[in-house]
């Protein structure tokens, strides 16, 4: 104890650290959540304009504010408002509780995973270091996998509670597909753990400091497997069997409308973004600017805070590439058949993923252990 002049210095310091943590968490999370909520409207707009561009049509361009049309960007806003004010039709035989609960199960995992991604290098404000990820847990990858595996319940509950055979079929298909591709997805990131020796996403990004240390170069097969599984995990084309319009109406959310339908959209697009950001983080150096190591970036820009902002923009740019890839693939490749999808997952991706792990481990062992 000793003399402390009436003020316990350690306690004060802890208080300050705690306050900084708390305030920075609230601010970071508010910004992140606000940003994530913007993703579905913007992506819906992109998803209408890009195919229009590809197919030489105009796409939505009517809705505007006064005389500004904004290339139809406000169409999404109009759609959102419409969805919110729609009447909710709950089918008669639906299970009342789970029908309303299913969208919740679809939304919260996506938000929770989005918080675990490191969006940029540390900020430095008033001498306090603020990491730019909302949640930084010891187990990194495993946290992300664990939470994303909970998303299956949203899908299967939605289908089961709707009391509609299309919904049930779609939900069974979707959940079987999601769990089948979860294993190759998990295995594809094992070589990354082997190479960088950590599960912490922040440390993995720091390890990819130079261009040729990016995961895409050190583990190219992992990248391939990851991208394919990414499409399957989010039920996107060419693996959108769950909502194959021609056979299952709309899959597990056939019976959903109004704001609940919007909730499914939100969950889907946010998890698309999260997987894109994860792919950029793991394989494309995250917030690292290509060819410019972090130290020289800070030296060039003069302040770590500006470097952090550049880093965030860099990560968003890289994720946008993957988001665009989603749309590009959707309008390029035809849909798979369900048996093809499953045998691709189990008979091709799983062995390849395992071989990739074993191969990487052997090569690393030869290189590292004399």
């Amino acid at each position: 104890m000793g003399t402390n002049f009436g003020i316990d210095l350690t306690s004060l310091l802890q208080w300050n650290q705690f306050t900084v943590d708390l305030v920075s968490f609230v601010v970071k999370f508010a910004i992140l959540a606000g940003g994530l909520l913007q993703i579905p409207p913007v992506m819906v707009w992109v998803e209408r304009r890009v195919p229009a561009l590809m197919q030489r049509r105009r796409g939505p361009n009517r809705v505007g504010l006064f005389k500004w049309r904004l290339y139809g960007l406000l169409q999404s806003l109009a759609d959102t408002i419409k969805l919110i004010f729609k009447e909710e039709v709950v089918p008669d035989g639906a299970h009342k509780v789970f029908y309303h609960l299913a969208p919740v199960f679809c939304v919260f995992p996506a938000f929770l995973i989005a918080c675990a991604i490191p969006y940029g290098p540390d900020l430095n404000i008033f001498g306090y270091t603020i990491p730019l990820s909302v949640v930084r847990v010891d187990v990194g990858f495993l946290f992300i996998f664990a939470i994303s595996s909970l998303a299956v319940y949203g899908v299967s509950l939605a289908g089961w509670a709707s009391n509609n055979k299309y919904s049930l079929m779609g939900s069974l298909r979707a959940s079987a597909q999601m769990i089948s591709y979860e294993i190759p997805l998990g295995m594809s990131l094992l070589p990354i753990v082997l190479i960088y020796g950590t599960l912490d996403l922040g440390k993995i990004v720091e390890a990819q400091s130079s261009f040729f240390k990016w995961g895409a170069f050190t583990a190219p097969f992992s990248l391939l497997i990851f991208v394919i599984c990414m499409f399957a995990e989010t039920n996107r084309a060419p693996f959108d069997l769950a909502e194959g319009e021609s056979e299952l109406v709309a899959g597990f959310h056939t019976e959903y409308n109004s704001a609940k339908f919007a909730a499914f959209f939100l969950g889907e697009y946010v998890s698309m973004f999260v997987l894109s950001a994860l792919a950029s983080t793991v394989f494309f150096g995250g917030w690292q600017v290509p060819f410019v190591p972090y130290e020289s970036l800070v030296a060039m820009l003069g302040s770590p805070n500006i470097a952090a902002i550049v880093g965030v923009l860099m990560l968003l740019l890289k994720s946008m590439f993957f988001m665009w890839l989603y749309i590009w693939v959707r309008w390029t490749l035809p849909r798979f058949r369900y048996d093809q999808l499953m045998s691709l997952g189990w008979k091709f991706m799983l062995p390849i993923g395992l071989a990739n792990v074993v191969g990487t481990a052997v090569v690393l062992a030869v290189l590292r252990f004399k």
Binding site: S11, Q14, W15, F18, H95, V97, F98, L101, V137, D138, V139, L142, F143, F145, A146, I147, S149, L150, V152, Y153, S156, L157, W160, L168, L172, S175, I179, L199
Partner: protein, 191 residues
């Protein structure tokens, strides 16, 4: 800061309450799907308890494998069999059942009081405390090192157990199909 010293305690009681509530719901819900969802919640809260106890890896595995895989299987089977809510009749205690419950209760009470008397108060010297585990490279790393040195044999046995489970499941669930195929090979008619 003093206020926050109570947070772990409060958190423990909240989590315990939630765990108990969902456990009771699991065994008492009429609809199997309701039970399964409460089982997920139960497992999730237990994972939170593990995280609170600094067992980060175990917490992640609990959610990943237990809540995210095993219960999914239960949900699939319930949907597959299209189980209807079951009428819960008034619970009848037979003498044997009551005895089993009573013996378990008394057994726990005895063991619990014994533990309360003999529980080691402090950390045993020479072992890893929470801070030391952090210094040694985090919970996951320490678990991994321990697993692959001291628990090598159980680890390999686990793979044999999984192998056996795979074989058993495929044999039990795909029985009819394979029998038909065997008929076919012997030249017998598939009827």
């Amino acid at each position: 800061m003093e206020v926050f010293y109570f947070v772990p305690e409060v958190l423990f009681y909240i989590l315990s309450g939630l765990i108990l509530l969902s456990s009771v719901m699991v065994v008492s819900a009429r609809n199997p799907v309701t039970s399964a969802i409460f089982l997920v919640l139960d497992l999730f809260f237990v994972a939170a308890l593990y995280a609170k106890l600094d067992a980060h890896f175990t917490a992640a595995i609990q959610v990943l494998v237990y809540a995210g895989a095993i219960v999914v299987l239960f949900v699939f089977v319930i949907m597959l069999l299209n189980l209807k809510p079951e009428a819960l009749r008034g619970v009848r205690f037979s003498v044997g059942e009551a005895a089993v419950l009573l013996i378990t209760l008394v057994g726990f009470a005895i063991i619990g009081s014994e533990l309360a008397r003999t529980a080691p108060e402090a950390v045993i010297p020479g072992n890893l405390g929470a801070g030391a585990i952090e210094l040694a490279g985090g919970n996951t790393f320490v678990v991994a090192m321990r697993m692959f040195t001291s628990y090598l044999w159980p680890f390999e046995m686990a793979s044999i157990l999984i192998l056996l489970a795979i074989v058993a499941c495929v044999m039990v669930a795909k029985k009819d199909k394979v029998l038909g195929a065997a008929h076919h090979f012997r030249g017998g008619s598939p009827e």
